[in-house]
């Protein structure tokens, strides 16, 4: 047996060892990575939610309500008109509030401002708030996703 044979045998064994230990590592890591990644739970796509009675929404005020797993904000303008938006700020996800003094939707986390059509008008938010449908059925205020 020549020296070259010995070297190539050593290389083959090294290669097999690397392959084996690499595979072992992969086999051990894969379930861990999968375990740590949360399972996709398709959010129960809430289409419509009853959020309260009309008297819960006084004139010129805003109220954060539960819309599925996320907060929504229902604003009642001074004139009586109801508007609803997703309350999740498009910047970094804080929950916005109605500011009577500014007549705006305002996020206190980074001073983002949206007008009463949901448009981002000042501060860092990059997109408007998602607009939702709002309707009054009998005495109940109903919020639903736009088609």
């Amino acid at each position: 047996m020549t020296e070259a044979d010995g070297l190539s045998r050593r290389r083959l064994i090294n290669w097999l060892l690397s392959l084996g230990s690499g595979s072992l590592l992969g086999v051990l890591l894969y379930p861990i990575v999968r375990y740590v990644t949360p399972a996709d739970q398709p959010e129960a796509a809430v289409g419509t939610a009853v959020v309260g009675q009309l008297r819960d929404f006084p004139l010129d005020s805003g109220k954060v309500v539960r819309f599925g797993e996320r907060p929504a904000i229902v604003v009642r303008l001074a004139g009586g008109e109801l508007r609803a938006f997703s309350a999740v700020c498009t910047h970094l996800g804080c929950t916005v509030q109605y500011r009577k003094d500014l007549e705006l939707l305002w996020c206190p986390c980074h001073n983002g401002r949206f007008d009463l059509t949901g448009r981002n008008v000042a501060g860092p938010p990059p997109r408007p708030l998602e607009a939702l449908e709002v309707a009054v059925r009998g005495d109940q205020v109903v919020v639903s996703r736009r088609a």
Binding site: V36, T37, P38, Q41, E43, V64, V65, R66, E69, R70, P71, I73, A87, H91, L92, G93, C94, T95, V96, Q97, C107, P108, C109, H110, N111, N120, G123, P124, P125, P126
Partner: protein
Amino acid sequence: MSVARTVGRWLDDRLRVGAARDFLAHKLVPVEHSIWYYFGGASLFLFGVQVATGVLLLLYYRPAPDSAFESVRFIMAHVRFGWLVRSLHAWAANLMIAAVFTHLFSVFFLKAYRPPREVTWLTGCGLLGLTLAFGFSGYLLPWNQLAFFATKVGTDIMGEVPGVGPVLRFVLRGGENVGGATLTRFFGFHVALLPLATTLLLLVHLALVQLHGMSERLGDSARTARHMPFYPHFVLREVLVWLAVLAVLIVLATFFPWELGQKADPFASAPSGIRPEWYFTFMSQSFKYVPPRLFGLEGEQVAILGFGAVFGLLVLVPFLDRRAARGEPSPLVTAGGVLLLGFMVVMTLLAYFKPY
């Protein structure tokens, strides 16, 4: 032969205590050192306080959305000395982060990262990251309103990191939203993963400090600097500093007990004047000034890349600062550090005195 000596020799034969004793007897530190040399030790001491108080809190804390807040309230209201243990843990966390930042900037301005201590610096940067991760994950555990939104924003910021962001946010939160899954995850990180990682990295960091000894001032060398024995001269000074830190900690924890706030409500507006813990406010405040779009990217992505670049420069400074490596002053690096520190201080002050 006395019993003590017999036992001593028996132990020495088996544990080689003599080697450690010799090392300690010969270890020297520079005479010319200042208060800034003590903040690494103070950080270590506060880490010890955190381990001790953290273990005690574990006996009563419950990591679930419908019981976390109540369990912390129970600790503070009903457990004997519970108020003290919880307040110590919260205050020591803040003091530890202050000590770690002071240690970082001391080492930076003293240029103690210069060869051969580059790896010590790198492990130190790792420990800074772990300390901040401790602060971020621990902040959520009482499940109060401020913590809830801080976690929302913090994980959303990580979600904006180009590429891995969305996956990172999903994994950290344990789902799309911040909720019960996030709380159990953060609890696991805070009490198991981070302590393990910190202990390992800390051992390397401390071993390297022993290996290289304490850094001499720029321009001095091991030969030209005057030295004094580590034991007992330096150790006694260190003990004095630790006792002072303990005194400050106990006064703060007793007379300014850490508040619990209001229980988190995912369906309430973020409260006005909300800000994260003080050590993150400089970042949070900067986000307020960034326009929605910048250089064709979303504004906050630019801000994140900017902070990432600055942190990258900071980590790599031992390799960039060639002048300090040669033992010469490097005013440019010092100026960069002053600029960074100034930016952090100004943004933090703005967050407290002129938030909007």
